[in-house]
Symmetry: C2
Subunit: 381 residues, 2 copies
Amino acid sequence: MAEAPPRAGAIAPGATIGILGGGQLARMLAMAGARLGLKSHVYAPDPQSPAFDVCALSTVAAYEDEAALAAFADSVALVTYEFENVPARSASLLAEHCLVRPGAEALAASQDRLVEKEFLSGLGIATAPFMSVEDESGLARAVAQLGRPSVLKTRRFGYDGKGQALLRDGSDLADAFRSLGGAQAILEGFIAFEKEISVIAARTPDGGFAAYDVCENVHEHHILSVSVAPAAVAPATAEAAVAITRRIAEALDYVGVIAVEMFVTREDGQERLRVNEIAPRVHNSGHWTLDGAATSQFEQHMRAICGWPLGATGRIGGAVEMRNLIGEAAAAWAQILADPDAKLHLYGKAEMRAGRKMGHVTRVIGHSAAKTAAPTLDKAR
Amino acid sequence: MAEAPPRAGAIAPGATIGILGGGQLARMLAMAGARLGLKSHVYAPDPQSPAFDVCALSTVAAYEDEAALAAFADSVALVTYEFENVPARSASLLAEHCLVRPGAEALAASQDRLVEKEFLSGLGIATAPFMSVEDESGLARAVAQLGRPSVLKTRRFGYDGKGQALLRDGSDLADAFRSLGGAQAILEGFIAFEKEISVIAARTPDGGFAAYDVCENVHEHHILSVSVAPAAVAPATAEAAVAITRRIAEALDYVGVIAVEMFVTREDGQERLRVNEIAPRVHNSGHWTLDGAATSQFEQHMRAICGWPLGATGRIGGAVEMRNLIGEAAAAWAQILADPDAKLHLYGKAEMRAGRKMGHVTRVIGHSAAKTAAPTLDKAR
């Protein structure tokens, strides 16, 4: 789909960038933009949104509020977003008023797990085996086909493990289906993976593309816990992961930073990749770039959506570890500040709730000293 | 002078830091604070102040508005500032309501060139030779004593070469005195220096101290043009410069980042130091730390004034060059963005005026590659 270009053309420093969403990703985008002389207008429904602390303009309104969306779009040079669940109607309304980057295709391909997997399959990119599930009998057919263990997921609005049910031997299918509250679903065959990795890359309107080092991710309770860059995979695997990401970005005529999560499996002794998820935005597993790469993913996104040259993506030290501070982990801020190798990032969230991403901490190995071998995840604190 | 401690004690993330002044230094302080989970309340008289784009709270009021100052001080955990010319009466009013860091002694010692030089002399620290000038006949006496060339400067409110007159052979003393508009003045003997350097360091409330690599500065038209870290001086000279800075900070019971500008002269074949100026704040010649050091001077200032541990000050790559973008130089933003070795910083100022600091650009040599020799200033672009 072509972008509506009512205000196309070069965007210069001094321009105002609209950001839908007011969480930590929007906050870090706004700060990266400010460093480049861009103003941010943050649009979010929650008046306590962390991004409101660092933006020039703010709108507190629902994502479905058409009058507020129109006024927002008219006040900015372009709109971007920090989350893929922007309502399709809101996205197209915004696109009538100003540039929206990444575009509607990227949103469509990432909002619905079935559409996403069909899109990937259409590009010849391996995923977990999957089947659409409309009802209980459909679930029974899918389980017969894909076996157990397998994972039943809602097609839409799932994140951090929400809207998922693991089907083991003996799991009751009716219970599992009911647990999704009647939502349209997809069954995914279980992947016995060795590692989870992700590629953070950026693409410009004229097709420029740059990827960061592939990073390796560890999830706990379905929430990202630690990322390490570079991932301990074969060079050919890392190259293949970047090539897959580029193919996806080109197929979507993508503009901005994109994140692609993949599983690394071992088949016949070789590492193989299966794409798990596409995120049309900056991504938690790219936070290490703030301290460990020449250009952060947030600056890179701003450069891409403004049509500016992409920044250098090389690491600026040795390996980098990024650890999320989830819930009470953020209470250790004073110890983290006392560690000369640690860089603390806190998101300004008032309430420290269990499971809530409060901040993150990065450690770059061998910043000024000789390069050190990549830390293994075991050693990572 | 002891700090008034109505809200002493540890400051935690989530606290609001008051910043007097709304220019680029306040803007970069606010962003550094936000990264650490601090909110900023910026107080400045100009509604177009660049720092307003990145702060949680703002007050537009004059620096002498006592009601506004009191309300500001009551809304924050502590107040800091981006410029040394905070009116003494405003500073003491703020100190009745909350912590002010750095404290009143630092302001007193840096607001008045005569007081500053007498303070330094009292510590046994070399400066340019100086004499107080109250009137025209006093100027004649001072010139007879210190000779020509020498520099007549207002005692207060001088910056970037404003309020100065160079006295050469044949300069008319009456003209020079009148050019200062009758302000109290000081005559400084001319220093034939080889280099200008500065030390950026930080001190905590409990006496913790950390300095960055000494950097070398080049001024054009009295405005800082380029800084390079590390400075090309003998190791003993760099050590002496840091020791002088520490002595100054300790004598002032200083809290926060301090900058000390010095001249390097050669006497009997040896490098000697003479202190030119103390700035009780983050400093333009420390901007290289944003991209070239483990902790930026802005984060370091926030850590120090909050009573947190100081961050590591080591360089994270090779040598670093920081070049100011003054006036139209900022129009080259697109070329700078296309240079993979450059990091662009723009301050969000609406109007590109001659002599106005619009931004800066840093280049770190050998970030990810082998270390490179320090660039000479000649080669520096």
